[in-house]
């Protein structure tokens, strides 16, 4: 299942920032990671990943470098301190949203204690 565009617009940057916390990554690596780690839910059109990265870079949340030492020249992206702060904020927001959705029973409630 893929997310609707509106949801993806909010979730995509957070997901990318989260992936970059582990270390710098290049475009295709991020595409694969998003697809595999989210079970395909966050698999975005690959062409939209690059504009997303450029936007994050314009906002100063990631930086990039061009590496020509490897097998082929690649642009690697790394999260910045601002990016980490933003990620912390948005993570909290997502958590609250998640809790709210659970309270509204949009999401399943966690299991409680034993059966009566």
């Amino acid at each position: 299942m893929k997310l609707e565009n509106e949801l993806m617009r909010g979730a995509g940057p957070t997901a990318v920032l989260q992936l970059l916390v582990a270390g710098e990554k290049y475009g295709y690596e991020l595409v694969q990671a998003l697809e595999q780690q989210s079970g395909g839910v966050l698999a975005m059109g690959q062409s939209t990943l690059y504009p997303l990265l450029y936007n994050l870079e314009a906002k100063g949340l990631v930086t990039s470098r061009f590496d020509e030492s490897g097998a082929r020249p690649r642009r690697y992206y790394r999260i910045t301190a601002s990016g980490k702060k933003r990620l912390a904020v948005t993570s909290k927001q997502w958590a609250k949203l998640f809790d709210a959705m659970k309270s509204l029973q949009v999401l399943p409630q966690p299991a409680t204690g034993g059966a009566t």
Binding site: G27, S47, Y50, Y54, F66, P73, R75
Partner: protein, 646 residues
Amino acid sequence: MSEVLPRFWDWRFPTFRKCREAYVAAKTKRREQRWQTIVSIAGLPPLATETIGKVVRRSRLWRGERSDVAQELIAHFQDGLESETSPEELVQKFGDARIATKLIRRAKIRCRPMWWQAWWWVSRTLAALIGIYLLMAVWQAFARPSVKTDYLALHNAPIIATPEQDRAWPLYREALVEMNWMELPKWFYEINPKKIQPSEQDWPAFAEWLRANRHAVDLIRTGSRRRVIGLAHHENMTDYSPADRAALEYLTPGALSEIAPFPPNAHDRSGLFDTNLADIHQMPLLTRILLLDYLYQVKQQQGAAALDALQAMLGLSRQCDHGSFIQASSIAFEIQTEALQAFERTLADQPTLWTDRQLTDFAHTLAANEFHPNRWLQGERYKFEDILQRIYNDDGQGDGRITPAGLEFLQKLAGPGLNGIVFGKTPGERLMHKPNLRPFMNAAILPRVNMLVASRKEMLAMYDRLLKDAERQFALPFRVHAEENGWLGEHPENNQFPYERYLVAYRFFPGNLSTRSHMELTAARKDAALLGIALELYRREHGDWPKALADLTPRWLPTLPIDRINNRPLEYKILDGHPTVYGWGYDGDDDGGRLPNLCDGRSDYYMRLIRNHPAGYLWNEGDDGDWIIWTTAPPSPQEEPKPVEE
């Protein structure tokens, strides 16, 4: 695409592939390298190459940015191919190239430097503003004035409604034609009226001319007793009847239009603004004839006939004041001043020429001859409304913007000043003087002018504000009024509102202080004449001059006139046997009835001093001396004025 090597070779010969990729890496060190080259040597399958080409080509980014994007997408596809994904699947997963192009372009532009971002926004904003301005210019270029009210007809309506027997013009017309006024002797125009004296060498010629034209002079006298002049006005001399033109056509046809004509394409008629007050302009000529007659009657010791001539001059003055325009009222002031100057001189020199009864009757007539500023203020407002409807268009709500025709009129009105306001000292101002370019330049500057100059409603509101202020100031004592206006006031910079914005209102609002000054001086001369008559009548009854002015009231004067400059009672003294009535003058202190050191050649019109001897005086602020209203003393030689540089 000839440089594109088939992927087949890459697969079969890994060594070759590594060499080729090293070459690509070396090539891509130069960011300025053309993205086409980078893509062509990347060795991607045609489908991927085509997709990258579409995205990068359509992005319209800078060369370096395109190269970056191309390299990144090449790496993307190469990584995908390396992970055993087919080119078709990779392209499918990549998504719509068109959307990708749009998003990449937008995102890359956001990454550009700050200075570029600022420039981008400023240039786009400027372009948008220029676009809006051009649209406004096109829109406003087609605006046309909407002349809905015929103010000239409104102005003429009461004149046309006047019964024939109340109209003086038929008699004046007959007199002017009969005396062949166009062929009047040269001396008639050249001589200073103040010097028309029996002692002059031309006196016999004056007398002969009067005898020959007695009937015409009597027609003027009879006409002066009628209520109004009674000639309907027109914009052009050609609109008057041939009979009227025979008595009027001393102005070049369209002479008034040459001052600031409305452009011919704006409307066929120029309305009240350009109205030719040709009859009013003939009144000074009739006044001169009556003055000549007065002097002749005095010479003949015909007191009654002389007073009749004076009464006729006052009648002319009254008729002019009905003209509803400041121009007509100014002529009315002049006529009354001329009449009273002559009367004062005779009263001082030949007091026995008139009987008590005659003097009393004349005093009553004179006292009733009052000017009403509200009348011409209202007339000027009609004129202003007419101007507005010919400059602005009408939005149906009483408001409007300046039209191209109105702009041409304003340019003539303001001279190069308005162009300077719009363009400053730029080549644009010079272009305005090229006739071929003028319509285009006017269309180009019209929105700017409409931004600078107030709208129709605002302009009328400003005029009404000035009008209200003028009415208030007319009710103030003259000194207070003059001080409010800085004595020599009425300069635009004295006003608290920007001159350029309210150019039309300021330009067409009648000279407030100058008119007031003119009116005060005329009224002061009337005060002087009434005082002179009262003093003479008192002297005849008591055998001597009164001890104080208060002795004259209420029998000879109902109330005493005041010092119009200082708004206080007038001073009175007997100096060398001559009664002298005076005010403190502009220096505001009592100098014992002594004239200031005047006549140094300065021509401050507003400070013109009246005095009861043949010559006028000029008074300057700060001059030490008094303003003498009335004295029977002859002027001393040193009091004679020097020539004034006007």
